[in-house]
Symmetry: C2
Subunit: 223 residues, 2 copies
């Protein structure tokens, strides 16, 4: 399934960033037993403009039928393939604070392609305890996890002080994909993919927008 345009590299970053959203919308349609969608419908379900959706999908290849729309199941399978979700990705979560435990239990991770194979903590005192259905392991176990479980992705959910040390140990163990939830900028070698999710950033952007709405107080000074 997909040996043509889909496996070509060089999708625009902005497109890649939206594919998960399309996939989610398509999965909901599959569950609702919808067989076919138009770009207008799918765009609205995914929260983007129809033109952008069509342009994004056209980057993957021609999976629509003119005058009809897209086959929901086929398009979902195609996007899964492109995103690499056809295979299984062993994930480890480091940091068993509130956030780490919530992430370890988060169904959205396990439900598609991702499998939490271990949870770890930097604090030796937590090692051996149970959390979210796993026994907490020590950082020293990382090389074994990479070797035996094929661990590919590390999720950092530690306090910011230990995030860099954890990243270093993940890299040293051979993990080449890291998702950082700690509010700190990490440095990794160029061959490692590092992305971050900052829980507070979006809240701060909302505050900015709210302030704009309510407080353009010195506005008159401009005219």
């Amino acid at each position: 399934m997909s040996t043509e345009a889909a496996s070509r590299r060089g999708l625009p970053d902005a497109t890649v960033a939206r594919l998960p959203g399309y996939l989610r919308a398509l999965t909901a349609l599959v569950d609702a037993r919808v067989a076919s969608v138009s770009s207008d419908e799918l765009a609205s379900a995914a929260g983007v403009s129809p033109a952008m959706l069509r342009k994004d999908l056209s980057q993957l290849g021609s999976y629509g039928v003119r005058g009809v729309g897209y086959d929901v199941a086929h398009l979902a399978a195609e996007i899964s393939e492109v995103l690499g979700l056809a295979r299984d990705w062993p994930v480890a979560i480091v940091g068993m604070g509130n956030l780490g435990r919530a992430l370890a239990a988060y169904r959205g991770f396990s439900t598609r392609g991702f499998r939490v194979v271990a949870v770890l903590d930097y604090d030796e005192r937590l090692v051996g305890l149970r959390a979210a259905g796993h026994t907490v392991r020590a950082m020293a176990d990382l090389p074994a996890l990479v070797r035996d479980e094929g661990l590919a992705i590390g999720v950092i959910a530690t306090p910011p002080e230990s995030a860099q040390a954890v990243a270093d140990q993940l890299v040293a163990a051979g993990v080449r994909s890291i998702l950082n939830f700690a509010p700190s900028v990490l440095t990794v070698p160029p061959e490692v993919d590092l992305r971050k999710v900052d829980l507070a950033t979006e809240l701060q952007i909302l505050a900015f927008l709210a302030q704009q709405r309510s407080g353009p107080d010195t506005e008159a000074m401009l005219s």
Copy 2:
């Protein structure tokens, strides 16, 4: 503090999205008793290019000194002001599952401008229980929270099925800023600011990048 360019509207979206990162880096410098930084240093601490940092900061006004750099404390205060973090933003978190409890306990929220004034749940059976230092309240309490506590921002951490209903109730109660952690697209009136954080999206992007790295198998077919 800031009655000039900073309060002018119309900052580029991309700039606004980076301001929280600059503020975080500056706060770390303040804590480290650093008085002044160059754009190169601050850019590196925030993980962006020096040119982009300078362009972003120039949108706020001229807060640097040529040949010297930026005054850390002054710039931090200025960005706080622009983002609206000088005031206090009462926040309510709806949905006391794993994620909701983690968010309610997350120090990154309370430490700057945001104050969790209430946690709520759609499930009446949870109402009255304690979670993350708060007593869980019912959705029916929302109007009172807006009136009495000045509730301004609602955070949705429910399962996707109830997210839209929660959003509707937040809007009905007068909340005009919503941050959605549920993996679903929500519809709100245009006067309401809605942003989302999707915990699984970044993981899926990492999978895409990892697959690209390891599996450009049909590459030779192109030449």
